[in-house]
């Protein structure tokens, strides 16, 4: 190949210049993306449009787990093009991304089987599309009935609408309609020309993943502003991320127990989650870690007291969680509610481009901490855990295994942290971003890969900011999981994934 057709970058490394990224004719773009995605070790982590002075430019990022690189493909639409050949029929994992580009910019992807709104963004191209007239899939039949649930659900959770088509008690099809949580976050990242405001925004993308998103944002800023942070701080960030993973996995285990009426498991896990988030509060004053992660430094650098308290708490949690998890995953009455319920096959998960937990519970080795390591994971290899069966049991069991692993990781990291030189790093807010760059940052949050990308203009201002929560790809996994299941098993499937509404709606 004489001429490079795409740019290759590493997670959080020096970002390429915008003009270095080759702009391809669409047919070449199409062929390349299709060809690239044939390898199951590669998947799309982001694909979106950027409107620059009236011209729409598409960027597609494909993570290659073989060599920890990210390939960036680009295409520029000329002014008259509004129809492109859809890649989705060949690579279904692009379905949600093409839908988003269609919704925001009106580009029609010819051949896309499901060209429906993603989130009813306030900047959508067709304002006549409103959230109340979503085009649900229907089947005309005397035998079937539809069940609509939401946007407001029975519990204290976020809103979204689920439309089931059922044959008796059996679900034939579930369509998930989101958008109720749309707050216009991506536009606010551009409009708010203040670095602290952007930090607060990043923590509010999904409050259950405050640390994950704040870290993705901070890394992105650091790579584009040329800021380096100490190893001690990198370790602290990994510890924070693992604490978040621990808290949510244990909390979700409580929720799973609640759904199958195993009260002992529910209350014990609830109390254990409290211990973890209270340790986070002891560290930074906020139970969910808001304020803990900042670009360039930290307002809450760890000290020996905090480290000691975290170690005490997680040792206690590890023992007690071990005792209760032993019951949860061995009682026949519970196993019969978990096993073979909501099965997603490995092929299905690969096809839809599932990430994080949703992929690992189907036996797919996809974990950014291992495949595209960031922060101190680059120097501290961790074990990539998978469970093969793809059912509710697998998703519960994976959480169980990851809890045990996170405890080990935190213990190991604190030990190394103690030996590291502690440099006082205060957060950096008066940074200057490099001009005309494309930056990408991916982080493995507890749900899966969080991806933040930014494009800067010639003045180093943020021209485009794009957020992708793992939920965006994984919602479809939930829809597939409940096919041919009893509708009464929907809640347990939903809890087993615990996907983010606001992370999708932005």
């Amino acid at each position: 190949m004489s001429q490079k057709l795409y740019s290759e970058i590493k997670n959080n490394s020096i970002s390429p210049d915008l003009k270095e990224i080759p702009v391809l004719q669409y047919d070449i773009f199409y062929e390349l993306v299709c060809d690239f995605l044939k390898d199951e070790a590669r998947h799309c982590i982001a694909y979106y449009g950027v409107p620059t002075s009236g011209i729409l430019k598409l960027f597609c990022y494909i993570a290659d787990d073989n060599n920890s690189s990210i390939a960036v493909f680009s295409h520029e639409l000329d002014n008259n093009t509004i129809v492109l050949k859809s890649i989705t029929p060949v690579c279904p994992q692009l379905q949600i991304f093409e839908r988003e580009i269609h919704e925001n910019f009106g580009v029609v992807f010819d051949g896309h089987p499901w060209m429906k709104p993603v989130r009813y963004s306030h900047y959508r191209s067709d304002k006549s599309n409103i959230i109340d007239n979503y085009p649900f899939y229907t089947i005309e039949s005397e035998e079937l009935h539809e069940v609509g649930v939401g946007p407001i659900h029975a519990g204290v959770i976020e809103p979204g609408h689920f439309r089931f088509i059922c044959n008796g008690e059996k679900v034939l099809h579930l369509e998930i309609q989101l958008g109720y949580q749309h707050r216009g976050i991506e536009k606010l990242f551009i409009e708010k020309n203040d670095s602290l405001q952007r930090c607060i925004l990043s923590e509010s993308i999904a409050g259950d993943t405050s640390i994950g998103h704040a870290l993705a944002h901070s890394q992105l800023i650091e790579s584009l502003a040329g800021i380096e942070v100490s190893e001690a701080l990198q370790i602290e960030r990994c510890i924070a991320l693992e604490m978040e993973r621990l808290a949510v996995h244990i909390g979700d285990t409580a929720a799973l127990c609640g759904d199958v009426a195993y009260q002992l498991g529910q209350v014990v896990c609830e109390a254990l989650r409290t211990l973890i988030i209270n340790a986070t509060q002891l560290w930074c004053g906020n139970r969910l870690g808001k304020g803990l992660v900042r670009p360039g430094g930290s307002n809450y650098q760890m000290n020996d007291d905090v480290a000691g308290e975290i170690l005490t708490v997680i040792a206690d949690v590890d023992r007690r969680f071990g005792e209760v998890a032993d019951r949860i995953y061995s009682l026949p009455s519970l196993l019969s509610r978990f096993e073979d319920i909501g099965k997603v096959t490995r092929e299905q998960a690969l096809t839809i481009g599932a990430v994080g937990m949703a992929a690992r519970s189907c036996g797919i080795s996809r974990d950014i901490r291992v495949t595209h390591p960031f922060q101190f994971y680059r120097s501290y290899p961790i074990q990539l855990l998978t469970v093969e069966t793809g059912d509710v049991f697998a998703r519960g069991m994976l959480r169980n295994l990851e809890v045990r692993e996170s405890v080990k990781i935190i213990c190991g990291l604190i030990e190394i942290w103690r030996r590291k030189e502690k440099i006082i790093n205060k957060p950096v807010y008066n940074y200057k971003l490099k001009p005309n760059k494309v930056g990408i940052s991916i982080v493995e949050g507890w749900r899966g890969e969080i991806c933040h990308t930014v494009i800067t203009d010639k003045g180093g201002n943020i021209e485009n900011y794009k957020v992708k929560d793992p939920s965006m790809q994984n919602w479809l996994a939930l829809a597939l999981a409940v096919r041919n299941q009893e509708i009464s098993d929907f809640p347990i499937n939903n809890k087993s994934y615990n996907l983010s509404y606001c992370g999708n709606d932005l």
Binding site: I152, D208, G251, G285, R320, E323
Partner: protein, 251 residues
């Protein structure tokens, strides 16, 4: 069975005995105290750095209905602004959330302005419907926690219910997204009279960091009387619990 008993034994007693006085970590960011000696220049500097314009440019007061509790003003001026771990910061009067400089006094709930029927009808049993309208799931998780084994707010007969028809009021989280405006209205209308409205979290009270976004529709807040404001980012379970207890007149 023996294994279950072992689990229970390890679990021990987790519930918080006194929800009024439970201590929280010293770093918890609760009610701020602004020194009376803060200078006009210092006020301007922290006011301009505040990400949510919660600090008044002239007086230096901090509006907890806008504050996202990032504590950056205190990091910049540790001698003049500090955040105490006082979590009892909810009030029924919006203006009382504004903390003036030079005062150490707690945030007050004005008993005489609580609607009479609220205490008469709901003091021993209050069922609430929660609606998240753009909430980021942090406030939602903390509200869920109020009913868990630690906080056990249900001990006072105060719980969340599934149907608005069974509810005595609504607890709103999130900055009120346009896409949820209609659903929120329908839900509120389905609650029988008399009904109360509680706003939990800074996003709900003022829009927080999302204030001014065209994706919001905050008409509902403007059009209705709010019975309780619960600040926080997210609102701490104890802030919510103490606020509701104060509103109902539970000692």
């Amino acid at each position: 069975m023996l294994k279950e008993i072992k689990v229970l034994k390890s679990h021990g007693r987790q519930y918080i005995k006194n929800l009024r006085t439970q201590p929280v970590s010293g770093l918890f960011r609760g009610r701020p105290v602004i020194s009376g000696e803060i200078t006009p220049d210092e006020i301007i500097s922290v006011s301009s750095m505040c990400p949510v314009k919660a600090i008044d440019k002239r007086s230096g007061s901090i509006d907890l209905g806008r504050c996202v509790f990032c504590k950056e003003c205190s990091f910049a001026l540790p001698e003049k602004i500090r955040f105490t771990n006082d979590y009892r910061i909810a009030s029924n009067v919006r203006g009382n959330l504004i903390i003036k400089s030079g005062t150490e006094s707690p945030v007050r709930l004005e008993e005489d302005r609580v609607r009479k029927e609220i205490r008469r009808l709901f003091k021993n049993s209050l069922k609430l419907r929660q609606v998240s309208a753009g909430g980021d799931n942090s406030c939602e998780m903390e509200l869920n926690a109020t009913g868990n084994v630690n906080f056990d707010f249900g001990r006072y007969g105060i719980e969340f219910v599934a149907s608005p028809r069974h509810a005595d009021g609504i607890v709103i989280t999130g900055p009120l997204s346009e896409n949820m405006a209609e659903a929120l209205k329908i839900c509120y209308e389905a609650i029988p009279e008399p009904k109360i409205i509680i706003l939990a979290g800074t996003d709900a009270i003022s829009g927080g960091i999302f204030d001014g976004s065209p994706a919001l529709n905050r008409k509902f807040i403007e059009e209705h009387h709010i019975d309780l404001y619960v600040p926080g980012n997210p609102a701490h379970p104890l802030t919510y619990i103490n606020g509701v207890m104060d509103m109902l007149g539970i000692k």
